[in-house]
Point group: none
Chain length 224, copies 2
DNA sequence: ACGGTTGTGTCAAAGTTATGTCCATGTGAT
DNA sequence: ATCACATGGACATAACTTTGACACAACCGT
């Protein structure tokens, strides 16, 4: 499960966000102020940090500066300060997003998840992960649910494309362009058929590939 | 490259701003008055609009009002009117910022870029929000009041259209054109039926979709 | 070069899901 | 009160996806 750190001095808000996030499968450690946050950061790795700005002891800008000295973990500011200057200061310090109160929980969650997803830029290392599926792009290897999967070339390329655009709906036309190439003359149905064999090859993890009626396909991390 | 629209009747100022902005990588279309601005807006999408207030033909407030009827593009007023009343009027019309002359070019540029970045922020994340409803346009997902909602393709497209034109009344004919496509041969009632299922799917948030008697439908942020 | 194996696309039938139409029943405007 | 208009339920079917069968092409070891 992903884990984030929420730094916020308002107790009620802390609780609300924590509950909402954990209800959506996002673990949430809490800190009351900047000092406490840095303590926790000593011993833990988080997938993202949500930072209030106005806090006792050490404010959000300070925490951001300290964190950025040694990490590129996604940081999202979460604050009542809506002024341009504060925003620019935040971005200048290397934050990844900026949400002003009051905000919708759904938005906050979506933004956080988006940041985490993007943060997974582990592709450099040659590894792409999504839910139970892992792709080793160096060796063109695939594993799902712990077992190695043998994929045909087309299956592999298709899955790679889906993995690179996880969560996004891709139309059959888009997939044909990206995987088959722009010059492919064939039928849309070709995509369906390959999706089928890919699903079959992936076994249980094949359920992560969702059909989006009238739109296309997408890959989800999906718990179930 | 980002493109903005500058509406300003003073020729010298127009030139100065345009030069400064393009030197910093921001394309700049020019309009001499409100009427010209609306003309350009017919055919172009801008990342932001800079509006003088005192102009011949149609003043900045008028342009702002017209634009806000159909778009949430960031608008920045740019004027010699420094009075509080004018500022409040600008904000009431839905502008995003307000700069009084004389101003520093650097500040104007920073503010503009911040506005564009913010506008991008939610768009990049693929998020559209209105009241309790959130649409993830990348994944074609919808949530309302914190819970995920499953929408059929038509429902989704219809809601997307309403969200993009929030606050505006859309006639059934308009909705048929935009959502069903210009070639749809069927009955107006089709819209009603889909609105109904959309409302049902959205649960409580369905109340944000208002029926406008004899005119059509519109989406409102309104809580109640 | 040769047969066997594997990968891939096409096609049509079967299975799903979504969508429009119809008509009876509400609801708001004047 | 009346009329025009919006809503709700039932149903048929249109639109779309999955599945299975098949044919052909590419690949591989001999």
């Amino acid at each position: 499960m992903e884990h984030i750190l929420l730094v916020e001095d308002e107790p009620r808000l802390r609780g609300i966000v924590r509950d909402y996030f954990s209800a959506h499968g996002l673990g949430c450690d809490l800190a009351r102020d900047g000092a406490e946050a840095l303590d926790l950061l000593q011993d833990h790795d988080y997938d993202s940090i949500l930072l209030d700005i106005l806090m006792p002891n050490l404010d959000g800008f300070g925490v951001c500066r300290a964190v950025r000295k040694k990490s590129t973990v996604p940081i999202l500011f979460l604050t009542a300060l809506g002024g341009e200057e504060d925003m620019l200061r935040g971005y200048a310090l290397g934050c990844d997003d900026y949400v002003t109160k009051p905000f919708s929980l759904a938005v906050l969650l979506a933004k956080t998840q988006a940041l985490i997803r993007r943060g997974r830029g582990t592709e450099d290392a040659g590894l792409l992960c999504c839910g139970a599926i892992t792709l080793n792009t160096r060796g063109r290897l695939c594993s799902a649910g712990g077992r190695d999967i043998k994929l045909s070339p087309r299956e592999y390329d298709l899955l790679l494309c889906l993995m690179r655009n996880r969560g996004q709906v891709l139309t059959r036309a888009q997939l044909l362009d990206k995987v088959w190439g722009l010059d492919f003359e064939g039928d849309d149905r070709a995509v369906d058929v390959r999706i089928r064999s890919l699903r079959a090859a992936l076994g249980d993890a094949g359920k992560q590939i969702k059909t989006v009626f009238k739109a296309g396909y997408k890959l989800e991390e999906g718990e179930a």
